[in-house]
Structure formats: C-alpha cells, structure tokens
Point group: C2
Chain length 170, copies 2
DNA sequence: GTAAACATGTAACAGGTTACATGATTGT
DNA sequence: ACAATCATGTAACCTGTTACATGTTTAC
C-alpha cells in the first residue's frame, strides 16, 4: 500500500490539508502514483487514527491541516531504506502487443505507429516541463529532476522501440 | 479490465482449460499481466456467462476446455484496434525516488545502486531467455520477440538511469 | 500406497474508481 | 447574487490478493 507512503512523503515536506495534497497528486504525482480525492481523504483519516500523522491545525471551511508525527517519519524512512520495491508491473501496452497477431499487419502497424507518436508527445511535454522549472540545489529539486529524467529516458526508449517494432511487422 | 482480454487473447491461439491458462500466466505473461488462479477461474466463468467463450469440451478431473466464440474474437479485435491503452502507470520505484531526500545521501545512493544491479540482473535473465528460444516466423514468435525486446531495452534504460542518478547524489 | 500434478471453486479482505452529497469562503 | 474555489465525507462497485477447501489422475 504505497498511497500511505506517498502521503507521508508529501507531509514530510510541510504540513498540508487533504485538499492541498489532492492538488499535489493532480500535478507532481499524477504520472507516478495517481490517487483520487476519495482515496486521499479516507487514507488521511486512517493515518491519523494510527498516529502516523496528526491534525496540527484547523482552518476555515472545516480545513484540517495534517502534520507528520515522529512515528510517521520513522515509517517513511523504513519504507524507503528497508523495504524493496517489488511491484509487479502490469503493462496494458505490452499485453496488447502480445496479441497483436490477431490483427492484420496494417492495423498492427497503426497501433505501433500511434504508440511511437504518443511516446514522442509525452517526451516533448516532459522536456517543456524540465525547461520551465528552475532547478536549484535542494532535495526536492535534485530528486524531482532525477524522476523527470527517468520519464524522459522512458519515453525516448519507448518511441525508438515502437518504431523498430513497426518495421518488424511486414 | 484487461484480464478479460488477456484470457481472450490466449484462447485465440487455441482452446485451453483454466489450468492451462494459469500456466501461461505464470510463464509468458508473468511480467506483463500477472493473474492469480482465483482470478482466472472467476473470470472464465463470467466470460462463459456473457458468451465470449464457451465450454468446448470436458475432460477428466472436471477439466473444462474453453474456446473463443465469434463474439469473443470480435471483442478481442475491438480492444486491440479501437481502444487506446490509457493505463495510469503506477511506479513504486519512482515514488520512492521522489522522496529519497528524506534519507541521507548514503542510503539514497545504496537504493539507486541496488536498482541498477537488479535492472542489470533482469536484463541478463531476459537475454538468456531470448537466446534459449528459437524464433520462427509465426505471429506468436514475431510479437513475443517484440515484447521481449521491450523488456531488454527497458531494463537497459533503467540501469543506465539509476547509475546516472546515483552519481547526482553527493 | 502415496506424492506430484491436474483441476476447480469460493470467501474474506485490501486497494482503487465513480458518483453522490454537503457546505463555507472568496472574488466579481 | 452568483460562480469559482475551497473543503470534506461516504456509499457502491470493481479488481486483485490470500487463503481455504475439495477431489481426480498419473507415475513411481
């Protein structure tokens, strides 16, 4: 259950409300770990119940500002340093490729060409994002930049692969 | 819901029992779309209920051999050609990278070094697999080879990225 | 005879999505 | 006054995981 750790991670930067966190999920975390409003509020209530976070302040409109507790920070560190990421990565794209032989070569090539195009677009979007941010030397910048670099390399790899794959289909 | 389509895809090659399909999921599909025994049997019953597959034969030990129907093939083609893969890809690894600033540079580097190592190992395993199979010219081979090539490129990319990232952390 | 492999099914639970429901504050 | 934004909560439903439960056939 990584949503829990995503929330702890965001709160380790500074206290925030459910609404603030939702906005962070919609922007910076959207491509890494999407989460819905419903899920975020439910999980925050649970985390507060187990003492990993607390309601540090209350504001207008029922706003509750959550802050990380010592236990919460410990849990976050533990997750980062001691547990191995063991994600069984499901790939919708690769599953389709696996069965592309069901289609005629024409439609199969279209699928791969589209994939190359959308990978290129994603790459360009990330490139624009990288250029629009001014990266300083703090931790958020360093690791944010590293995560973005992953995205750039991933989409470049996928584009080249899709182009190569389209050529294999005759 | 792609499990449904994975099952239709496998059955498009030839009729099979739940048990046969389970074995295919444990081997060829393990890295693309993992599924449990429980899930497979439940989904097969549902697919038979909606007429996308039928029980074509019954064998010893209660074995039920399922075959794709015309409706099932149509549904499979439709999924491949008409629907866009829109998978919101969750990455446990990238989520951790995002919050790596919570750790000291030492443990953070260890995390990235470990990632480079495990990517290298995955790459080698796939390379061995590619070399052990004799690829002929049928559809399964062509698209199976293309899917494997994706894995090779993916792990190579991730290894290089993790090595680069480790260097950024001083 | 007995272990391994074949073969299926179901129940409980955890995580994620969609939709509904409500209300307060701010800016124009 | 009205719309946009801030702000939270819950219910229904779907997908996926773990564990339990059962029985047959084959090979040694």
């Amino acid at each position: 259950m990584s949503l829990r750790h995503a929330l702890l991670g965001l709160l380790s930067e500074h206290p925030a409300s459910g609404y603030d966190l939702l906005k962070r999920f919609e922007t910076s975390l959207a491509n890494v770990w999407p989460a819905t409003q419903s899920q975020i509020y439910t999980e925050l209530t649970r985390l507060a119940g187990t003492g990993l976070i607390t309601v540090a302040a209350e504001g207008p409109r029922g706003r509750k500002e959550y802050a990380l507790t010592d236990d919460g920070l410990e849990e976050l560190r533990c997750w980062l340093a001691e547990s191995r990421p063991q994600r069984t990565t499901r790939s919708d794209v690769l599953l389709r490729v696996f069965f592309l032989g069901v289609l005629e070569p024409g439609p199969a090539r279209i699928f791969l060409d589209d994939l190359a195009t959308s990978s290129y677009q994603s790459h360009e979007e990330l490139r624009d994002l990288v250029e629009s941010v001014d990266w300083d030397d703090d931790n958020l910048s360093v690791y944010g930049r590293i995560a973005l670099e992953y995205g750039l390399r991933f989409h470049a790899m996928r584009r080249e692969w899709a182009q190569w794959a389209a050529e294999q289909v005759k």
